[in-house]
Amino acid sequence: MSEVLVVVDHADGEVKKPTYELLTIARRLGEPSAVFFGSPEQGDTVAEKVKKYGAAKVYVVDDAQIKGYLVAPKAEALQQLAEKTSPAAVLLPSTFENKEVAGRLAIKLGSGLITDAVDVAEGGVTTQSVFAGNYTVQAKVTTGTPIITVKPNSAAPEEADGAGAVEAFAATISDVAKTAQVVATQPRQSTGRPELTEAAIVVSGGRGTGGNFEPVEGFADSLGAAVGASRAAVDSGWMPHAFQVGQTGKTVSPQLYVANGISGAIQHRAGMQTSKTIVAVNKDPEAPIFELVDFGVVGDLHTVLPAATQKITERKG
């Protein structure tokens, strides 16, 4: 069975959930091999994690030569690994950075590229959600090695035994790939809440918060949810851009999405329309967001959310 290269999503060696989703998907296409860009000392720890989800091999690519430059070195390393392993496919978690890596890799390998898949079936047929979630597209790579970036929450991770054999892979990085330098990195402070794109529940606030996100955050915490924001709230400087849900921010597809004080402009809908259950709280009964909801409350979020938070806390006892 051919190998399927799966790029590991991690934060400083801490493997993130989309990796397990991708390994689960990769088993439909062949035998998953995890590709870990990071510190070689962390290779064994990562292997212990990913072999539980079927990784037969774990390629450890020392990122000492890679992390100081933007995107290009990773694409070169993956090209060399793909040329060595002739994989059935290359799967990457669909982040902005990985999409760029995938784009460059597609040119290097002369291979077709599909971005933002929400599912990949046996045979490599992908499903994408396009036009702000109004259309579903089925597509396939027809030339070269399929390179597919897959969104978080695209599959339920299923455990499977893998050998998890660690293999160091030494990539040769050219000077051309070292022309955009990472001059400084400022890690974002953890909020202690779930990651926006991975969360099962997302509670967002918009213009209607008036800049006070306390009711939104309190409600989110009562549900164990991630907090998001509309572009209006981000543009007003109330929330950092990292929290933006929508076309130019994050696309989320949680089990439950709660939009508070968000009108539901197309830019916002593009980022949340595929959520399983949608709930909205908004003062304006005419807000377009109510066209999408399974349940809506016409009311002031500043009174509805704190009261609901209290009721949930009471129920949990």
Partner: protein, 266 residues
Amino acid sequence: MNIVVCVKYVPDATADRKFEDDNTVDRVGVDGLLSELDEYAVEQALQFREKREGEEITVTALTVGPEKAVDAVRKALQMGADSGVHVVDDAIAGSDYLGTSLVLAKAIEKIKADTGADLVVCGMASTDASGSVVPAMLAERLGMPQVTLASVVESQGDQVRIKRDNEGSTEVIGATLPIVLSVTDQSGEARYPSFKGIMAAKKKPLETWSLTDLGLDADQVGLSVAYTQVEDTTARPPRTAGEIVTDEDGSGAGALVDFLASKKFI
């Protein structure tokens, strides 16, 4: 110095966007316009020029697309770009990322040979495909440094520094011109064309190029040689109307919590 800003003509996101029978995006039957996210690219190109008073800098707006796509270039000219290039050829229709980036790269190389291309500016994504991959692919094809997804752009001499929001961090990226730059909607509000700008745009040079002008053959691009194939497109069924309650005397919170409990979210 010459700046090339890549602009895309896209179906209006607020219109009823759809696909053709061959599963390509309907780019003719739906009203189109300059992709909103490319307006930020035009803005940053113009600011780059304005901040360097005394330097001879021209901004060329480049688009690839059907006949109507020239509207995207016109808008860029109205905003303040100096000249425009429209690559139009029936054979390009249906191109995927690889085909599109090839045509753009060839056009940029031609501009580079004529007037130079020290800076290529793109938007962070198109509003139709939302791929965010073409700027990186252009950097790959042109062998230029990739400086992408900038929320802040600063430059001094031939040095450019940007701020880039990554998944878990914010990075500062530095490179030396010539570069491929892409900018996000955080980079700064795009200007509206002034009346004067609209009038002036009519007299600005606008060239139309075919594949032949770029040294490309029809069998190198387009739907028939795309590296990917769309097998099916389906309109998502409209969501069934949900229950809407009005909050009176605090009833809304209770109804909300009951709903969440009924769906086992609590």
